[in-house]
């Protein structure tokens, strides 16, 4: 498909999201901002993850974010600013994983250790966090609900989403190039570690900030599938990144509308829509 078609589809899905509050009173503008922000962030980062084959990172980062959120709540209680601490914790864990990979540790080993550590520690953290922030907030971290976000959270998600999308588009060419041959990229003078560091940082920011909107369970799907679908249907770094953002936006818009109509959690419906698009794309391309 042509790049202009992806752009047109992206605009249609964003406009659909923007008019949703006029159609359904339960949808507020903070919700729309949050959904657009998460689509932009996950759509763009997903393309880079697919290009570098860093799928393990898409699996482990939500685990890190799920540990960081209740841990921050325990540390700071009701003082506020716990999301900043959560973001910092996720950054440290993601950078540690990236450094281990750089030092030659296999991605399977990193994923095993990180998931084992974070999953175990998360059970303990959630147990204590429930007493501080309440079971509702904990449930929101796991299931995610854009309908519950505050104005501040919605605006933060939108700004972060825009920043992640702009950065991702500006480094897509180099990241895709490194994905083909890291050694050629190194000899051609590309500072590969800077692009890796930026990618890990964007990933950590996206997941840590969007966790409350999309929830732990669907974050992996959102960081994996838009890029995986885009790699099947589009060609070239710019087109694949744009296609990935478009696919994430379409799935989010349809997910939000369908969930309101069917009275179901939006993140779950969005996830299922992405899985369906992926299956259709694979069948259409490979039979």
């Amino acid at each position: 498909m042509d790049t202009r078609l992806y752009l047109a589809l992206l605009i249609v899905s964003l406009v659909t999201l923007l008019i949703t509050p006029k159609l359904y009173w339960v949808v507020s503008y903070p919700t729309v901002m949050a959904v657009i922000g998460s689509s932009l962030a996950f759509g763009s980062i997903s393309a880079l993850i697919a290009a570098r084959r860093l799928y393990f990172l898409a699996h482990v980062t939500p685990h890190m974010a799920l540990l960081a959120a209740p841990l921050s709540a325990i540390v700071l209680g009701h003082k506020g600013g716990d999301w900043i601490l959560a973001v910092l914790l996720v950054l440290v864990l993601v950078w540690t994983s990236g450094y281990a990979l750089y030092k030659g540790v296999s991605s399977d080993v990193i994923a095993s250790i990180m998931v084992s550590f974070t999953a175990s520690a998360t059970v303990l953290a959630l147990y204590y966090a429930q007493r501080i922030v309440g079971a509702g907030r904990v449930s929101q971290l796991i299931l995610g609900d854009p309908l519950l976000v505050t104005s501040f959270e919605g605006l933060t998600a939108l700004i972060v989403g825009l920043l992640v999308a702009v950065f991702s588009l500006s480094i897509a060419r180099e990241v895709f190039f490194v994905g083909v041959s890291r050694e050629t990229a190194l000899v051609s003078g590309l500072k590969v570690w800077i692009y890796d560091f930026t990618l890990y940082t964007l990933m950590a920011l996206s997941v840590a900030i969007m966790l409350r909107i999309t929830g732990f369970l669907v974050t992996s799907v959102l960081t994996l599938l838009p890029g995986a679908i885009a790699v099947i249907v589009a060609r070239g770094s710019l087109q694949v990144t744009l296609a990935s953002i478009t696919i994430a936006s379409i799935a989010s818009a349809l997910g939000l509308l369908a969930s309101i109509s069917l009275n179901m959690p939006p993140s779950g419906v969005t996830g299922l829509i992405l899985v369906t698009i992926y299956a259709l794309a694979r069948v259409a391309r490979f039979g």
Binding site: A50, E174, F176, F177, V180, E183, T184, V187, R235, G236
Partner: protein
């Protein structure tokens, strides 16, 4: 295409490389001067690819130093990259990559000629077109994804990505391995044209496709077994010196 003021030159001083205690290169001291094609021959595990990576600064030797055009590039791919273009050994295109042939070759030159954010700069388009045509990538394949190419066509694209850089020293790891016989002849001519003003270092199991264009042969088996004029080295090498298994099995 280009003229270089300095004679392209690579020098290795007592280079020793080992991986997890296993010796890969042992006390290699070499001086490779351009222009011309230099073939590095040897069996699997002889250290041919390692030698190229050491020259490109991708592997830091345990001992010894590497100089390119008089500059110490030991373990410094960013410094080596100022003089060197490197083509890795690859028989299969990356099955997942959605990068197009055009964008891959274009990015190979943009990473050297432009700063981030890298938009296309003037003159690049013509150079990319010329290099793709030179290595025989048909125009109809320029906007295919890399994953849609055959092994031989991907190899041509890799060679184009090295040519496009205009580097005075080219390190090509088995560039003709997956190319069909007709393509080998054509690509050999292209490489010999380029080698008129560059140093082109090529690894290979089979010296013959490039033999008539080769200025120097380095026979390698973790150490330098022989070095010199291609015909002289190949006739002087004791049977089985490089390929003992092949010789004993087939009696060649």
């Amino acid at each position: 295409m280009h003229e270089f003021k300095d004679i392209p030159m690579v020098r290795l001083d007592s280079v020793h490389v080992s991986f997890n205690g296993v010796r890969a290169l042992d006390s290699i001291s070499l001086e490779l001067r351009g222009p011309g094609i230099i073939q590095v021959l040897g069996p699997n595990g002889a250290g041919k690819s390692t030698l190229l990576k050491v020259i490109a600064g991708l592997i830091r030797p345990v001992r010894g130093s590497v100089y390119v055009n008089g500059v110490d590039v030991t373990g410094r791919s960013d410094v080596a990259g100022m003089f060197v273009a490197y083509m890795p050994q690859s028989n299969e295109p990356p099955g997942w990559s959605p990068l197009t042939v055009w964008e891959f070759v274009e990015t190979s030159v943009l990473t050297r000629k432009a700063r981030w954010p890298r938009f296309v700069v003037g003159g690049v388009r013509g150079v990319v077109e010329r290099c793709l045509s030179m290595v025989g990538v048909p125009r109809g394949s320029w906007y295919l994804r890399l994953s849609e190419l055959s092994g031989g066509m991907f190899q041509r694209v890799l060679i184009a990505s090295v040519l496009v850089t205009g580097a005075p020293i080219m390190l090509l790891d088995e560039p003709l391995a997956s190319v069909d016989p007709e393509g080998r002849v054509a690509l050999s001519r292209v490489l010999s044209q380029l080698a008129t003003d560059r140093l082109v270092v090529v690894t290979s199991h089979d010296p013959h496709p490039l033999l008539e264009h080769t200025r120097l042969v380095v026979a390698l088996n973790k150490r330098v077994v022989a070095i010199g004029d291609p015909h002289e080295v190949l006739s002087r090498l004791a049977p089985g010196a490089l390929y003992p298994y092949w010789v004993s099995e087939h009696g060649h």
